[in-house]
């Protein structure tokens, strides 16, 4: 059976979620493997969200926020960036490929960029294969 | 074929079981001592920053964490290619002497004493410190607890955490000593010396004064002729913190004396499929199986081994006791396993005297606590004497000081082969055709193990007599919530 990647995308309301909406209303074609979760700001995204997404079966996690300097709450996206970089180090140490976690800035007007991001990220995950954390969780002996 | 299983072994630290096989005659055909536990420090320390290891390896044992912390601290210094300044070394040794006082005290009174003072085959309900207190008096019990508490307090003062000490950092220690703290320790150390003398007196009166026990020590099924290992200083006197490792043969002649970086040329480990614990042996002799005697590759590393391997004790009162023990037991070396208890008390006295020596040393309140660090050579070995035997930590790191490999040979592990044989010998000596195998007999087999392992046991069950007592329950602010009064 062909592997269908499951991707969770955390999108901030002010920029990236609006950008994703724009891709939709503009009827752009992009892969349908993504579950979008809207947060008020990318600074709201804590490492626990990302780890739980992997635990619940995500093969890849995407984080999108406003471009640097444009954050609706001033500094939120910088916090997000720093957490993301530390998270990548951590998951790599645990044997999860760091490519499974991606951060990209998407503004409210960047519908096309969002669609392209989804398509390329889905391909990346497809080539990496399924993330095995769920199986590892259940193998306790 | 009948099997008798003792599971778990009790009144010691750690997991163990004994499997005794009887033949058709009811005699013991073999007895196996098995260790069912393993955690794998030699694997999961990989990848950790090496300066974290003294704190991590302390968790190998909650009874002698200071030992692992010290061996580890020395290995880490070697990884950095430095020696700590004199004050730091003395602070470490001062901590270490308090650590020995607390451990040897608790072991003798709570672990050894029940089997000796109450009686080797006394009923199980009496075989604990309360039975001991009935013989030697309640004041002694309170005094033992008090001295142990004081030793723990000194450890907390020097090392922060009173159990899992954190004092070591690459090149030295994290905390110094003020004059006031030092004066306090001096008083406490004097108390330790008195207490150690007192403990030896108890041993003398209650154990050595009893012909039955002396007979058990000298003629019971507990003796094992093996080579002895212990760390000695430059004068070949016993030292727990630093020195070279000396091995003497079954006749007491020096076989080897090696410095820590050479240990791999002298000690190797064997694996059996029926135990998770490895079997160290002397490499130059080779693994000859579980046999004793001059040709065996096995050795033991215990308080008795240390005294056998050394030429004497470095402090005066302990030295007098050392001479007295060997005179009483017929010269060096002594192979009577139960004499380990006596040797342990002599070491208690040495630790107390050495604690006092270090506390009164002018360097101990010095301000230079850490050596300067440079590039990281990346390999280091640290050896100390743990209460249970020679302890070796060997680390390799990359140039950032992240651990790539770890090898550890633990104190008790040295004695694995010896313990297996001691248990088998005791079983064969005590279980004979026609003998009813009672709980007391099984305990006497366990005694063969207990002599090697200075671990904790404690006062439990109810105290004899109707002690008047006030129980106060307070909240987090110290306000009295409830008071319960008896008698």
């Amino acid at each position: 059976m062909e592997f269908k990647p499951q991707i969770v995308a955390f999108l901030c309301k002010w920029c990236s979620y609006t950008g994703a909406d724009l891709a939709g209303t503009s009827r752009m074609q992009y892969k349908s493997n993504v579950r979008a979760i809207r947060v008020m700001c990318s600074g709201r995204i804590e490492p626990t969200f990302v780890l739980r997404a992997f635990q619940k079966g995500a093969d890849g996690v995407l984080i999108c926020g406003c471009h640097p300097g444009d954050c609706h709450y001033q500094e939120g996206n910088y916090r997000c960036l720093r957490r993301f970089l530390l998270l990548q180090k951590y998951i790599k140490q645990m044997g999860i490929e760091s490519e499974r976690l991606k951060l990209e800035w998407i503004s409210a007007s960047e519908g096309k960029q969002y669609a392209e991001l989804i398509n390329s990220f889905t391909e990346t995950i497809k080539s990496l294969g399924p993330c095995t954390i769920k199986e590892t969780m259940s193998v306790l002996t | 074929m009948k099997t008798i299983t003792i599971d778990p072994i009790t009144r010691l630290e750690g997991h163990g079981k004994i499997e005794i096989f009887l033949d058709e005659e009811g005699e013991v055909s073999n007895a196996y001592f098995q260790v069912p536990e393993l955690r794998g420090f030699e694997k999961f320390c990989e990848g950790r920053p090496v300066e974290e290891l003294p704190a991590i390896v302390a968790k190998i044992c909650g009874v002698c964490p200071g030992c692992h912390h010290m061996a580890s601290g020395k290995a880490v210094d070697a990884v950095f290619g430095v020696e700590p300044p004199p004050t730091a070394k003395k602070l470490r040794e001062l901590f270490y002497m308090a650590h020995f006082v607390h451990s040897h005290t608790a072991h003798f009174y709570a672990l050894a004493a029940p089997d000796f003072v109450v009686g080797p085959d006394a009923p199980a309900s009496k075989r604990n410190i309360l039975g001991v207190i009935e013989v030697v008096g309640k004041e002694v019990g309170t005094e033992v607890i008090k001295q142990r508490r004081i030793a723990q307090e000194i450890q907390a003062l020097l090392g922060g955490h009173q159990t899992f000490v954190v004092m070591n950092i690459p090149g030295g220690v994290r905390k110094g000593l003020t004059e006031m703290e030092r004066d306090d320790i001096v008083e406490k150390a004097k108390g330790f010396v008195d207490f150690a003398n007192f403990s030896l007196k108890i041993f003398n009166d209650v154990v050595l004064g009893n012909k039955k026990y002396v007979d058990l020590i000298l003629n019971g099924p507990y003796s094992m002729k093996l080579h002895s290992m212990g760390v000695v200083d430059a004068d070949n006197k016993v030292n727990f913190y630093d020195g070279k490792v000396r091995v003497v043969d079954t006749e007491g002649k020096e076989l080897y004396k090696y410095s820590p970086p050479e240990y791999l040329d002298y000690v190797a480990e064997h694996v059996e499929p029926w135990s998770y614990l490895k079997f160290p042996f002397l490499k130059k002799i080779g693994w000859k199986g579980l046999i004793d005697g001059q040709n065996s590759g096995l050795y033991h590393a215990t308080p008795l081994s240390r005294l056998n391997a050394a030429d004497g004790m470095a402090t005066p009162l302990a030295q007098k006791e050392y001479e007295r023990m060997y005179a009483t037991l017929g010269g060096k070396p002594v192979h009577a396993t139960l004499a380990m208890h006596w040797a342990r008390l002599i070491e208690l006295l040495y630790s107390a005297e050495r604690c006092l020596e270090l506390a009164t040393d002018p360097d101990i309140t010095g301000k230079e606590l850490r050596a300067a660090l440079g590039p990281i050579p990346g390999e280091g070995i640290g050896i100390v004497e743990a209460q249970r035997g020679t302890l070796t930590h060997h680390y390799w790191t990359d140039d950032r000081g992240l651990v790539t490999k770890v090898n550890i040979i633990v104190g008790t592990t040295n004695n694995n082969g010896a313990i297996c044989m001691s248990i088998k010998k005791a079983a064969q000596g005590l279980i004979k055709k026609g003998v009813d195998v009672t709980d007391g007999i099984l305990n006497m087999i366990e005694m063969a193990f207990r002599a090697y392992d200075p671990c904790f046991s404690c006062a439990t069950h109810s105290l004899p007599g109707q002690m008047s007592m006030v129980l106060e329950i307070r909240d987090a602010n110290g306000n009295l919530l409830k008071r319960v009064i008896r008698n």
Partner: protein, 324 residues
């Protein structure tokens, strides 16, 4: 007064443990007399000659309180966890190993195969050309010898059986144990099942006496030996990693008293799912850089993220084991 109230039947058992939790019980020192007046110890291998068969013969629920310490590493640990669950009214996960997996939990960085190979075949002092490994069942001329099965994963107690309370710490600070013990003995109303007892709800930083400001901005992280610790300033503010902000208070900041930074043995503060993830947030927040390359440079000095954030809690973390 004597005999008016039945004594509490207390058991203390160690699984994959080091003995430190048993020592913490002993460290009641002179208060021991209060403890033995209120409780009968019915099973405690370090101290009493009660064997496994004696526990098996006890009626279910016979033991009032069991303090179970140590992680679940092998089949014997699992068997005893289930046995003691049956025989105990209240089962307490006592200490970091039972609560979070503890230091033995670091073995989840490897597999069983890698660990056994290193220990029994590869260590530099081992001579084992036949590659002998300990096995659960082995036939000797006289009969069969058994040892427990070594599992691939380390688990906490709550990942194995139903647990009533958690008493954190490596080991728990004895004063906290006494408070909990006295509360049980006095018949006080116990907190809801599943609570953490014997510890504060707030973080270490609340207890810690080191001087702290609100100005934590880090341009560089230092290994502890790279700084001259002034003994007074917050470790994080000196650039030294410390788990204080994400660790529950209750230990009396004992490591800080020894001038060493906290490593998180008391586990997470109240209401936290993953212990290390919260600390990752904290560390990321205090990094004072905006450009990705500059941030990466600062984070280079967090040399062992998983081992630092999850020193005591790897088995109960979300990812919980290395997957490569």
């Amino acid at each position: 007064m004597e005999g008016s109230k039945p004594k509490l039947k207390l058991a203390v058992y160690w699984a994959s443990a080091c003995g430190g939790c048993c020592v913490s019980v002993l460290d009641v020192h002179e208060k021991l007399f209060d403890v033995v007046a209120a409780a009968d110890l019915v099973f405690w291998p370090i101290a009493l000659d009660i064997k496994y068969k004696d526990v098996e013969e006890m009626p279910d629920g016979h033991i009032d309180v069991t303090l179970f310490n140590g992680a679940v590493r092998n089949s014997e640990n699992e068997h005893m966890a289930k046995l003691l669950r049956k025989k105990s009214k209240i089962l307490v996960a006592y200490g970091s190993c039972a609560h979070l997996g503890g230091i033995p939990g670091l073995a989840n960085f490897s597999t069983k195969e890698d660990l056994l190979r290193r220990v029994f075949e590869e260590t530099e002092s081992v001579i084992n050309p036949e590659k002998t490994r300990p096995v659960p069942e082995y036939k000797v001329p006289e009969g069969t010898l058994n040892i427990p099965v070594f599992y691939n994963d380390v688990r906490s107690l709550a990942q194995t059986v139903d647990v009533d309370y958690f008493l954190p710490g490596c080991p728990p600070q004895t004063e906290r144990l006494l408070e909990v013990f006295m509360a049980i003995v006095s018949g006080a109303e116990l907190p809801p099942k599943g609570s953490v007892v014997g510890a504060d709800t707030k973080a270490q930083c609340d207890e810690c006496i080191r001087k702290k400001t609100e100005n934590k901005k880090i341009k560089k992280f230092y290994r502890p030996w790279e700084v001259e610790d002034d003994g007074v300033t917050c470790f994080l503010e000196q650039g030294v990693l410390c788990m204080g902000p994400a660790t529950r208070a209750g230990c009396g900041y004992r490591c800080i008293k020894g001038n060493a930074p906290c490593r998180g043995c008391y586990g997470p503060a109240a209401g936290v799912t993953d212990p290390g993830a919260k600390m990752m947030s904290t560390i990321a927040n205090i990094v004072d850089e905006k450009e990705p390359e500059e941030i990466k440079k600062v984070l280079e000095d967090v040399v062992d993220p998983a081992g630092f954030f999850y020193r005591f809690s790897l088995p109960v973390s979300i990812i919980r084991r290395n997957m490569s």
